[in-house]
């Protein structure tokens, strides 16, 4: 039986380290026996999580399978083949991947989740382009727009995790990102259509977004205004 050299407490026979300061138990005459039974059952982290994961997995599969099967059956019975049902089924596959993957990803693997979501969404839209035979719009317009959106989200996540953004600046960055994304989408559209590179509709969305964003950044930097807003809007 050892004493903790930091805390001075006597450690129970089953303690390999001090539970108060995590200093290893040092007793050269009686080294701790890892197989010795513990005074209290030690928690098994997987136990509760596994149960909840199983339930969630079951629910997701149910949410995926039932509507998919219904769509396929109705499409087959009404049209004698598969036509429109591929779209909702593809969307459900995308939903399934986007809900299941985060459950099995370790905590704080947000970037991996973003990458998987991007790939899934791109694959779905590429499939829609291919099946619908509605011309080439994925690679010239959708892919760069999606890529830009995901890069913006990843950058915002990075800055938020680094502690550079608070709630107000996240909102400001969000509005700025919406404005930029709209302008980028219009540019990609005009490039795809070989039109002159000017802004028409995007400017009407981007202008108020950027105005809002700048206002929020200004409010965030001005303590007096910030406190006045908190005072008036607190709940």
């Amino acid at each position: 039986m050892a004493y903790c050299v930091h805390c001075g407490v006597k450690l129970g026979e089953s303690e390999n380290q001090c539970p108060l300061c995590h200093t290893p138990a040092l007793d050269p005459h009686a080294p701790p026996d890892p197989a010795a039974p513990r005074a209290y059952p030690v928690r098994t982290p997987e136990q509760e999580l596994k149960r909840s994961k199983k339930l969630l997995l079951f629910l997701c599969i149910l949410l995926f399978l039932v509507p998919s099967a219904l769509c396929l059956i109705i499409d087959w019975l009404t049209g004698g083949g598969l036509s429109w049902s591929i779209y909702p089924c593809g969307a459900l596959v995308m939903f399934f991947i986007c809900t299941i993957v985060p459950i099995y990803l370790p905590r704080h693997k947000g970037y991996a989740f973003l990458a998987i979501s991007f790939i899934t969404l791109s694959a779905y839209l590429l499939m829609v382009e291919w099946i619908s035979q509605s011309g080439r719009w994925f690679f010239p317009i959708v892919f760069p727009s999606l890529l830009l959106a995901f890069i913006i989200i990843a950058l915002m996540t990075l800055f938020y995790r680094l502690g550079r953004l608070n709630k107000l600046t996240v909102l400001a960055a969000f509005f700025a990102a919406v404005g930029m994304e709209c302008m980028a989408v219009e540019l990609f559209c005009r490039l795809a259509a070989s039109l002159p590179l000017t802004f028409q509709w995007a400017i009407f969305v981007a202008a108020p977004c950027i105005f809002l964003s700048l206002s929020l950044f200004y409010i965030n930097s001005n303590r007096a205004i910030r406190e006045e807003l908190v005072r008036r809007l607190h709940y």
């Binding site: 805390c7 129970g12 390999n16 108060l20 300061c21 513990r38 928690r43």
Partner: protein, 425 residues
């Protein structure tokens, strides 16, 4: 309600707990008896089967009425189960026939967990003593049903299932109870459903003697150590934005109004110091805590606090509100105040006498408070023989409170032995 099943109204204190319970948290506590021999599950199951009819107020499930929850009798038997590493998990009303009590065994320990709507620490201790006495009798030992253990051959009395709050001489006055927020130790929340346990064994005679040196009781001494630990921690971490330090101490109302009820019959007092007013030495803290406890531990003030709660319950508007509205309001009030007003909780059950004949087989009783609703560390103490068993329960990764508190005791010359359920220790 099924025909022929008895039902009980929730007592005044019990009404709070189902309203604030969620799938992640509910108010639970655990009482355990550690024996000198390994537990035999078959005999423990027999003991539970024999003991449960003696405690009709515990053989119940939670039901929703239109205006209030109520407790309904359960006919099915309660199953004992091996203990897991997840103490005081929230009760789910549809599991285990709806029982709001669980009985576990682990090596030499019998444990019972109670949803707080059923009973308080005193009622729980009566149950665990009775269960342990019956178990030891089934093992062939001569153990009496005394020293707080109920005789299972006798029939339960109406007094035992009575709502004792309704039979108190309550004043008409309502005492304001707003106390504001208190300092909490900075904490990293553990993953949900984790409750870390650190158990400390302390020689009771030495801690009593040390408390007497300060002119205080053991509870006052322990509360003072918590406040002093929090005071030093706040000085170190947040010297610029100090908050009051407050410890919630449950009070057994049976000490003031003798009652045989096994249901809730307790109140709280909250000894407090305010570091915004200046610095404190440990001696000053213990003097303040002693004065606070002497002043507040009187039946008039305790009744006044209970009268405020009962007045809320009897308010015609409140009574007429449907249950979901009540739940919404109570839940909101609890989340906004509740445990935010306390730095920690210390529940001292005092001396737990072992049933006659059981001294050889029962090593100790211990009590554990369930997971706090906020990232906190609470503690509970029970004295058996010459051992005070102090159990810290926390849902946080840091061990600041138990570490500093037990180090303080060691520095005071009191030997401490610790055990835990923490991984790797």
């Amino acid at each position: 309600m099924a025909k022929g099943k008895r039902w009980y109204r929730l007592d005044n204190a019990a009404k709070l707990y189902p309203a604030v319970a969620t799938s992640r948290w509910s108010s639970i506590f655990r009482l355990s008896a550690e024996l000198t021999e390994d537990i035999r599950p078959d005999l423990l199951q027999k003991a539970v089967d024999k003991v449960m009819p003696r405690f009709p107020a515990f053989k119940v499930r939670m039901r929703k009425g239109f205006f209030w929850y109520y407790l309904e009798e359960i006919k099915e038997p309660l199953q004992v189960v091996p203990d897991s590493g997840h103490p005081c998990m929230p009760f789910r009303y549809h599991e285990n026939h709806g029982y709001l009590i669980r009985v576990f065994y682990y090596r030499k320990r019998i444990s019972a967990e109670f949803f707080h709507s059923l009973t308080d620490g005193s009622g729980g201790l009566t149950f665990i003593k009775t269960l342990t006495a019956e178990y030891l009798r089934l093992c062939g030992h001569q153990v009496s049903f005394d020293q707080g253990a109920l005789d299972i051959r006798e029939k339960p009395t109406p007094e035992e299932t009575r709502d004792a709050f309704m039979h108190m001489p309550l004043p008409k006055v309502r005492i304001p109870r707003k106390e504001g927020r208190a300092y909490h130790f900075p904490a990293t929340p553990a993953i949900p459903h984790t409750l870390y346990t650190i158990a400390a064994s302390i020689p009771a005679d030495q801690i009593v003697e040390k408390a007497r040196e300060y002119g205080a009781t053991v509870t006052e001494y322990l509360v003072s150590i918590i406040l002093y630990t929090a005071f030093l921690d706040q000085e170190k971490r947040r010297p610029g934005r100090k908050k009051p330090l407050r410890v919630s101490v449950p009070v057994n109302m049976r000490s003031f109004y003798p009652s045989a009820t096994l249901r809730n019959f307790s109140s709280f007092i909250n000894p407090c110091i305010d570091p915004r007013l200046g610095d404190y030495s440990f001696k000053e803290i213990i003097r303040e805590v002693h004065a606070f406890m002497r002043y507040h531990l009187n039946p008039r003030l305790l009744c006044g606090a209970i009268a405020t709660n009962v007045a809320d319950e009897k308010n015609p508007v409140c009574r007429a509100a449907p249950l979901f509205i009540k739940n919404l309001i109570i839940g909101t009030v609890f989340r906004r105040s509740g445990e935010r007003g306390f730095t920690s909780t210390l529940s001292n059950l005092g001396k737990a006498h072992v049933p006659t004949g059981g001294e050889k087989w029962i090593r100790r009783f211990e009590m554990q408070l369930g997971s706090p609703s906020l990232p906190l560390c609470n503690c509970a103490a029970v004295t058996t023989g010459n051992e005070l068993r102090l159990l810290f329960s926390s849902n946080i990764l840091e061990t600041t409170l138990p570490r500093e508190m037990l180090r303080f005791l060691v520095e005071e010359g009191i030997p401490v032995e610790v055990e835990s359920n923490m991984e790797g220790s």
